[in-house]
Subunit: 598 residues, 2 copies
């Protein structure tokens, strides 16, 4: 059976030693009093909830899955999920980063980021129930009417109710412009909504007393395509103005999907038969309102894979130290044993370090994005808010796609460390691979993320936002360029930064002539950008660690950090060499293939 | 629901147009009369069996799995498996490449290679039941006594009985030197064997009337480690000298593993309690006898992933043509539809072509190895036999590891083409990912394959065998070096061939000083070697196709081949650029990490 230890020390290192997040938070009036001790104390308790309450339900939840009663349309989550959720609500965890105006604790988003990393390590399927609520909360907070906010936000904040995103239909996922669900206006200003939705995560369950579905649908006079989509709040149970629950609304679960992973989360087919809802935001502007949820969800999905990468790593490391098999090629290491622990073997170390480097790099990026979110929401300077939002928009597709692809690589590597035992369910490793697999797909496939990055976020403003990130890299290169000890970390990112600048110009030119050139390069481009970002954070982490070591600090944590940074630059970062080549081969090898794909 | 069409045309292309296998077979007396028409006719029938009998049981077998009756220790395979196996036996498919002396049809191994590719596409879990028998057959044929051969080979040939390999124990898989199962000699020359085996594929089932287990165990006076292991034939039911079945032997299934995939195949924990067996080969030389099975199994595992790559590709291609979603970036393609089929998107094509290029490259290599096996067994010239065996030994770890890693990449890519639907069981795509995952692990993990390749097969004889393959590459470069139309295929392999030669010398030198340098480079080295081999076969396939096109042949098959070759060299082959770099960073970044892995 696997185990999990919250990586509090590494979170503290990134937050307080590398990024110095409280320096930024102090400037935001509502977080001015949130000091490092507070953050650490909350996360210590959060880690306990994750490891002691959510984690023990992970394997059993996978085995049992969710059950739909086809008569009542009620879904029962796996054993223990409901009770764990009650503890979560009681502990106030749902309210962590919510607005005090609605009963929230008003802590910075970056705390929630770290808390959710731990929840995802513990149990991705369970965590998706409260996780989806955050997107619904944010969409309503940003676009809801005062009445909607008053009705829904306190209940989402307390966690008494959960939320969903009802977007996908059988014939459309990526292409929401095709959606068919209809909303008919009623005399009282509400709407009767009819249609079929699929793949609705946490769409129906027995863990909360009500569920607020945010549903995309078309008004009768709506333009065709994506410009004719509106967003509606559709509660499972009708809610009176005083907040009391009324009758069941006409939205119910018609079936549950049988999936590769995240069995503990109900992936529901939702049927709407004249379900009553209220409009969120402006008519026909539903996609904009939806994207508030979606951006939160994309950051959340990257965080899911970060969590799985970390927990897979911890368990593979423990196994590699415990399992004895063969002798080290360079001579016996454990003379008292009939064989050496497999951690002596170079490739076993490579698999472990791959997961470790991707986990710690992902954590640094995730925390950095958490602070950007705080600054975007709470910084008093409008320009800082705008800049933070812009940089976060650039990094969001990288968080979503790079971290989930890395999660795929890492969970598979960690499973491989177990040999045949990795394929056996009771060890828990294959579940991490299966659960992670959806993260590369939902909330916009990783290909869609790459098009968002290269097409919209980079080329869409002629590289202006990318240059903002480039300036961070350049500042570090400037700062450490003459430090010989930092050269092994600085030189690669300086070179790659220049290459990316040149490449981006090239792609802009090629894409202007033929848009398929953008589509052909995008996935490779995103991974290159991911390595530039990870390289930057790994260099900053190595910088702090080397300074501590130079100052005589003998805490092995710092040496570990430098060793992992060296591994990252030696074995993972050079992936960019291939990607730069494959990008430059362009679209012809893909598009001039009609005979091959006949 | 997925579908499957046997790739007969491509098999014929590789066998008859590229490799001209009957030229080689004609020189082997026992295959002198096997012409192309015979091979094609057999494979056409074999394809029907695969697609019409084995394929329809694939998803249902995954859903149902195997059932163990804990009282009788009997295992029931999923519904329909037994009946399909009866058809297989009745059709004489088990006997295809077996020796006519035991009732076999005596067809070349290369025919069996193609037949098994199709069975694996159709149903890997089912195919493992007859598949394991081939290894047992070959081990007994090579090392069995006349009595053992007379007793077991006719029944394995007919398929009335199946075979297994009982190697792994709970504490040892890779490191068989640690195994503990004991064999006590009895007065009649047989042995009483006691111990526990795990992970025994097809270890117990209801599909055949008897099972011949080939079991590794230690004699009482055996030296410690791998030099003290002997191989025994242990039937499930005792067999009289006249072949009639007697009582149940003391070997039974103590439990079935719950696994990530291949649910339809019984992965058995086998308990031996004084089970009676007979010695196969010499005492304490069991590993050598076992390796006859193991080498067959390793080629077989590569073939499993080839099969899964092909079937995943076929279904992803069909989906990509059918599913409409978004418009092409370079302008609307399907004006009559509300969106374009997703095959217009460059990255969708990349995912499809990745699987196609890996499938067709793997098929060429698999067929090439099949012919080598035939020449090793049947060529009249001893030198040809030895050379063929040596080259096959070099290629075996590449077939096992490169094809299974490619299967992982390909089945995941094909699943990704389906978006969210890929994660849903009913589409069948996620099963290909799960089933393929074991292929990277069993019969020696892919890391073990890489050490076998670099440590034993390449550096073990100072690159002599590698040079033999290098001469094939050099001959092609020589032949086509001045042909401008072939330059795009020839130049990359010529360059990589030189790089590999240089790199191998470097690694030999570094490994001589520190064996961990070999372990650090091995996995990357195997993938580079794999691309050199695939590059060679893709160049040969392109050569034939270009000649046909130049001669005015308008069959689109040839154009498709050239397009796929171009894709391969543009988008997959450049992986070597990264691998050459990461190898040269050496072992330090992996081994000097004790603090990181504390």
């Amino acid at each position: 059976m696997p185990s999990y230890t919250p990586p509090l020390r590494d979170m503290q290192f990134v937050m307080h030693e590398v990024l110095k997040v409280t320096d930024d938070l102090k400037l935001c009036p509502q977080h001015a009093d949130t000091d490092a001790d507070t953050i650490n104390a909350v996360l210590e308790e959060g880690g306990k909830f994750a490891s002691e309450v959510a984690f023990p339900l992970n394997i059993s939840g996978d085995e049992e899955g969710c059950t739909l009663d086809k008569t009542t349309h009620e879904v029962t989550a796996p054993k223990g999920f409901k009770e764990a959720y009650a503890q979560y609500v009681q502990g106030g965890w749902a309210a962590l980063s919510c607005d005090p105006a609605y009963g929230g604790q008003g802590l910075p988003f970056v705390v929630n980021q770290c808390f959710y990393e731990m929840l995802n390590s513990a149990n991705q399927a369970w965590t998706m129930y409260p996780g989806l609520s955050h997107g619904a909360y944010e969409a309503l907070q940003a676009h809801g009417t005062d009445a909607q906010k008053a009705l829904y936000l306190p209940k989402l904040t307390s966690g008494e109710w959960t939320g969903t995103m009802c977007l996908t239909e059988p014939h459309c996922g990526t292409d929401l412009g095709l959606l068919r669900t209809k909303a008919e206006p009623l005399a009282d200003g509400s709407y009767a909504i009819t249609g079929n939705k699929i793949f609705i995560s946490a769409g129906e369950h027995d863990m909360a007393e009500n569920i607020v579905h945010l549903v995309l649908a078309r008004l009768p006079d709506a333009p065709v395509g994506s410009k004719g989509i509106s967003l509606f709040a559709v509660p499972k149970f009708h809610v009176s103005a005083d907040g009391t629950l009324g009758k069941r609304n006409g939205i119910y679960c018609g079936g549950l999907e049988h999936k590769m992973g995240i069995h503990g989360n109900a992936t529901a087919q939702m049927v709407l038969e004249g379900a009553i809802g209220t409009l969120v935001g402006q008519p026909n502007k539903g996609l904009a309102a939806m994207f508030v949820m979606m951006n939160a969800a994309r950051l959340g999905v990257g965080n899911q894979s970060l969590g799985l990468t970390e927990v897979a790593y911890q368990n593979a490391l423990a196994y590699a130290k415990d399992r004895i098999q063969m002798r080290s090629l360079s001579g016996t290491k454990a003379k008292d044993k009939p064989a050496d622990p497999i951690i002596v073997h170079p490739d076993v170390r490579k698999m472990l370090l791959t997961a470790k480097a991707y986990a710690e790099g992902g954590r640094a990026l995730g925390i950095f994005c958490g602070v950007l979110l705080d600054k975007e929401h709470s910084h008093p300077d409008e320009k800082v808010r705008a800049d933070s939002g812009e940089l976060l928009a650039l990094l969001t597709p990288i968080v979503k796609a790079f971290l989930t692809d890395n999660g795929h690589i890492s969970t598979n590597a960690c499973m491989q460390v177990f040999g045949g035992h990795g394929f056996i369910k009771e060890w828990g490793m294959e579940q991490y691979v299966r659960d992670n697999r959806i993260n590369m797909i939902y909330e916009g496939t990783n290909t869609i993320q790459s098009l968002d990055l290269l097409g919209r976020k980079v080329l869409g403003n002629n590289g202006a936002t990318l240059k903002k990130f480039g300036r961070l890299v350049a500042a570090l290169v400037e700062e450490e360029g003459v430090n010989e000890k930092m050269a092994e970390f600085i030189t690669p990112i300086a070179i790659l930064g220049d290459q990316v600048t040149k490449l981006t110009t090239e792609l802009g030119f090629k894409g202007f002539q033929n848009a398929d050139e953008v589509g052909a390069a995008a996935v490779d481009y995103l991974r290159v950008a991911g390595h530039l970002v990870f390289g930057y954070f790994w260099a900053r982490m190595a910088q702090v660690a080397l300074r501590e070591i130079a100052a005589g600090n003998t805490d092995q944590f710092y040496l570990a950090k430098v060793q992992t940074a060296r591994f990252y630059f030696a074995k993972l970062f050079p992936e960019t060499a291939t990607l730069m080549r494959t990008m430059r081969t362009g679209s012809k090898a893909l598009m001039d293939t009609d005979a091959a794909l006949a």
